[in-house]
Structures are given as C-alpha cells and as structure tokens.
C-alpha cells in the first residue's frame, strides 16, 4: 500500500505539486496567481519542496525582469504519483 508523503500532504503543497505534475514547468508568478498566495508564503512552500529534492529551479535574468521556473524532478513526479495512489488507497479502504 502506498504511503502519504508529509512534504506533499500539506494542502498548499499538494496544490502546487498537482500543477507541477500537469505541466513540464511553471513560472513563479503563474503559480502565485493560480494559488492566490503571497510571494513569501509561496517561496517558503517551494523551498520545502525543493529541499526534498522534488523540484528543479531555473532562474533567469536579474532584477524586476527576472523569472523563476520550477519543474518536477523524476523523484518529485514519482513522489507525487505515489501520494495520489496513497490517497486513492485510503478512499478504497474507507469509502464514504
């Protein structure tokens, strides 16, 4: 049985991971707009995910025109898929 991942299980990070899993990379402001989060909060969440080795960060440019792109690593994608499988297992074990 798959296990829930504590890094991904937090609601904000689960939403972030679901967006990352559905794309081949996203820009910081796109995530911020979609999730309606303050920049420091989003940075903190991204940092937690990055520390787990689930993210590849690509920064381009400097100053106001700079952009930061995030992409799931292979480890991150596997962790996300495993987490979703764990959620499905829990639903099957405890149907509403």
């Amino acid at each position: 049985m798959a296990e829930l991942d504590p890094v991904i299980h937090a609601p904000k990070r689960l939403r972030i991971m679901s967006i990352l899993a559905a794309t081949d990379g996203v820009e910081f402001s796109f995530l911020q707009e979609r999730l309606d989060l303050a920049a420091p909060d989003l940075s903190k969440q991204m940092s937690t995910i990055e520390k787990a080795g689930y993210l590849k960060v690509d920064k381009t440019g400097r100053g106001p025109g700079s952009t930061t792109w995030y992409k799931l690593t292979r480890k991150g994608r596997a962790a996300y898929e495993n987490h979703v499988a764990a959620l499905r297992d829990l639903i099957e074990v405890n149907p509403v």
Partner: protein
C-alpha cells in the same frame, strides 16, 4: 483533510490549467513556421546540401524559440500527456496526421511536377498545409476547450 476532497481538488486544479486559461497564439506564429518550412524545402532546389543543412538548423532554432516564447507568455510549459481528454487525443492526432499530410503533399508535389523549382513549389504547398491546417486545429482546440470549461463550470480567463 478529507482524501476524496483532496483528490477532487487536485483533479480540478489540473483541469483549470488547460481549460481555465485562454492561450492566445500570436497571429504570426503559423505563417512564420510555414515560411520556415517553405524555405527549408525550397533550399533543396539549390542543390547545395550545406544550404539545406543550415536551413534545417535555422528551422529547428526558430521552432524552439517560438515554443519558448509561447511558454514564457503563458507562464507554463504544457505537458501533452497531462492534457484532459479529448484535447490530448486531438493534439496527438493533429501532430501525427499533420506531419503525415505535409510529407505526403511534399512527396506528391515533387513527384508530379517537372519544374526545375519543384521543391520551391512543394514548400509552398507545405506552407499552405501548415497555415490552413494549423488555423483549423487552433480553432477546433479552442472550441473544444471552451465547451469542456462550460460543462465543468470552469471560468476561462
């Protein structure tokens, strides 16, 4: 957090990426790609392989730069495997059928033409296929995405 609610929320989140955003492609994209295809195919008439190789490199770079620009404007890089059905099936079919049609049109034009500029003519035919076929696909894709968004109650921004 309720597991079922979590799953529904992430599924909707993923759908909203593709159905909730209007991804406008600049009008010059298809003519530019068609022009590059025409120039690459037409270069064969010059009977200098280095010119054709250079054109293939230019075509690849232009295609890559166009995609990169598109992604920069959208703020994300789409993942075809994650596109909601039937959009994924349509995108895959378009890529496969579109490539096959271009190859067929070019081969047929070269085969039936006895003009010394037959590759230039074939390139022109490829240009038309890219512009007309691409416009049709964009229109069809947008309509389908709008319909799905309406059915699922997703607001398009």
């Amino acid at each position: 957090m309720n597991e079922e609610a979590s799953l529904s929320e992430i599924e909707r989140e993923q759908l909203e990426i593709y159905l909730g955003t209007e991804q406008e492609t600049p009008r010059w994209t298809l003519p530019l790609l068609g022009l590059i295809a025409w120039a690459t195919i037409a270069s064969i008439d010059l009977e200098n392989p280095w010119v054709t190789i250079a054109m293939i490199v230019v075509a690849g770079a232009t295609f890559g730069a166009t995609m990169a620009l598109q992604q920069k404007r959208a703020g994300f890089s789409p993942r075809i495997a994650a596109l909601p059905e039937p959009l994924r099936r349509r995108a895959n079919s378009f890529l496969i059928v579109g490539t096959a049609v271009i190859v067929l049109v070019v081969v047929a034009t070269v085969a039936i033409s006895d003009s010394p500029y037959r590759f230039t003519i074939a390139g022109g035919a490829a240009f038309l296929v890219i512009v007309i076929g691409g416009t049709w696909f964009q229109h069809d894709y947008r309509e389908r995405a709008e319909m799905m968004a309406r059915e699922l109650g997703i607001e398009r921004g």
